[in-house]
């Protein structure tokens, strides 16, 4: 794990961002949180299709679990209502628990799969659950493309 983290740190120490790819929400099943599993063409030579699809499918299943309307959500809702929702000041909701799991999952995926390929996933909650942002960094193996973003120009840490 130390070597994978080292890769992630290296990535952050030299931020040569090329572009950002955004995976949009999939609204075909209503307003539940789902992301499209369509593979963005910009990532064609950076990562295998199956890996990204697997990540997105797992994320979708986490969100489905959080938003599931069933016995547990009814119980939580009725109990909270009976206490005038004061119980939420001390108790964590089921959705918040799943969000913790999701951020841990994204961290792990970044360390194991995406950072070694020069990519970085951003947790959708930081983008208002609208998009899954994938930052594409300069592929140090090819050494070709120059950074097009101005984000790195302000950095004095060289």
């Amino acid at each position: 794990m130390a070597t994978e983290f080292h890769n992630l740190q290296e990535l952050r120490h030299s931020p040569s961002l090329v572009t950002k790819v955004f995976i949009q929400r999939d609204y075909s099943e209503g307003t539940v949180c789902r992301f499209q599993t369509k593979f963005p063409s910009e990532l064609d030579n950076r990562i295998e299709r199956t890996l990204l699809e697997e990540t997105v499918k797992t994320l979708n299943s986490y969100y489905a679990e959080a938003e599931k309307i069933g016995g547990q959500s009814y119980l939580e809702g009725c109990l909270a209502c009976a206490t005038a929702y004061i119980i939420f000041l001390c108790m964590e909701t089921r959705y918040e628990k799943v969000l913790r799991k999701i951020s841990g999952f994204i961290q792990e995926q970044n360390e194991k799969i995406y950072a070694p390929r020069g990519l970085l996933l951003t947790d959708p909650i930081e983008r208002g659950m609208r998009v899954l942002e994938i930052s594409v960094f300069e592929d140090r193996g090819s050494g070709g493309s120059s950074p097009s973003s101005t984000m790195s120009s302000g950095s004095s840490a060289r």
Binding site: G30, R130, M151, S153
Partner: protein, 378 residues
């Protein structure tokens, strides 16, 4: 190279665009106009105070001591629901950061193709199919996003709100996905409280008049007249509102959709969000999961003031000015740039983006301390 680093803790709510007021260091979020909300508080608290002062002593002794107890419980519930509705984030969607906005613009241009000069470009609409129904997603020019289904832009708060119902001045906030159930429970419990007080006012006046006469009763308890007046007018409006929202919940519609006639008239019966079952619709709206806020109001943004020689690009020196908190006088187009410049200034400085992009549940204090320590070690 000598550099003096002064790090100031700035929370994200201070840089949020939109016309909201924040209190208690970002814990409370309301609209700007709060006058009517104070009136609501005054009416409810005032009427209940009169009830406890004038009616309850008599009724507790001559009828049942449970009457004031139940009234007190109901009053506490009403206030809790009101404050919960007013102070919570209704489901505001954050505006798109510059890269996302550019990405969407490029997609739109690709979809529209070449528009001949002189012709208006086609409206920015995206069609999605939800449960075999085509729903049009509109582009929000202020927030630079395609609004999710059922979201709408509130012009009073200048935010896109998810599952936007309406902006309620009585509550001083928008009613949206996150606080709709509290709003409904507020109107329901307020209806019950109003009916309760009205009923027992009448009972009290009747009982006392039997002993002392009608005019004497009014002289002894002048508060009763005020209470009856307030309750009478409140009854019609609040009970009507509760009934209307019960109807909307059973059909899984929002006030916004009802007003626009999205699923009525020739579109009747085509609401793709409805489960076609009243019980299921009610359960989804009232007992569904409690959505978290995506705003992260209390998260920390690092603002650094640095005194460094020469080669700094201009954007860094502008960071040394005090953070501009948008208020009524900030020009509208400056606000998004304030938010985006805060984001941009935060990222090149940090060495560990993970310290900044903590989820809303992580403790901000420990992450800020570690990042401050890292800056000092640099």
């Amino acid at each position: 190279m000598s550099a003096v680093m002064i790090t100031r803790k700035v929370r994200k709510w201070e840089k949020l665009p939109g016309k909201n007021t924040f209190c208690c260091d970002g814990r409370v979020m309301m609209a700007r106009q709060k006058g009517v909300f104070y009136l609501t508080l005054f009416l409810i608290a005032g009427t209940c105070a009169l009830f406890f002062a004038f009616e309850c002593p008599y009724l507790a002794v001559h009828l049942c001591p449970a009457i004031p107890v139940f009234a007190a419980l109901l009053f506490v519930f009403v206030m809790a629901m009101l404050l919960r509705t007013s102070f919570s984030d209704p489901g505001v969607l954050p505006r798109a950061l510059p890269e996302e906005a550019t990405f969407i613009e490029m997609e739109i241009e690709a979809a529209n193709g070449n528009v001949p000069a002189g012709q208006r470009p086609p409206p920015r609409i995206r069609n999605v199919q939800i449960n075999n129904q085509i729903v049009k997603l509109k582009y929000c020019y202020t927030c630079k996003i395609f609004r999710p289904p059922r979201a709408s832009h509130c012009s009073i708060c200048d935010n896109c709100v998810d599952r936007f119902d309406h902006h309620c001045p009585w509550v001083g906030n928008c009613v949206g996905k996150r606080n709709y159930r509290y709003f409904y429970l507020f109107t329901l419990s307020l209806s019950l409280l109003t009916i309760y007080i009205f009923t027992f006012d009448i009972v009290h006046v009747v009982m006392r008049s039997m002993n002392g006469g009608f005019l004497n009763t009014l002289k002894e308890t002048p508060g009763t007249v005020l209470e009856v007046l307030v309750c009478f007018f409140t009854l019609w409006s609040v009970v009507g509102l509760t009934g209307f929202h019960t109807y909307l919940i059973s059909l899984n519609q929002t006030t916004n959709e009802d007003i626009k006639g999205s699923w009525s008239g020739k579109n009747r019966g085509q609401n793709p969000y409805s489960h076609k079952n009243i019980i299921k619709n009610c359960c989804e709206v009232l007992c569904g999961p409690t959505y978290p806020s995506v705003l992260d109001r209390r998260g920390l943004l690092q603002e650094d003031s640095t005194l460094v020689s020469s080669s700094n690009p201009v954007p860094q020196t502008t960071k040394t000015t005090a953070p501009l908190i948008p208020n009524e006088h900030t020009p509208d187009d400056a606000k998004p740039s304030i938010a985006s410049s805060a984001e941009k200034s935060a990222s090149p400085k940090e060495e560990h983006p993970a310290a900044m992009k903590f989820p809303p549940l992580a403790s901000p204090e420990t992450d800020a301390e570690t990042s401050i320590a890292k800056e000092r070690a640099h």
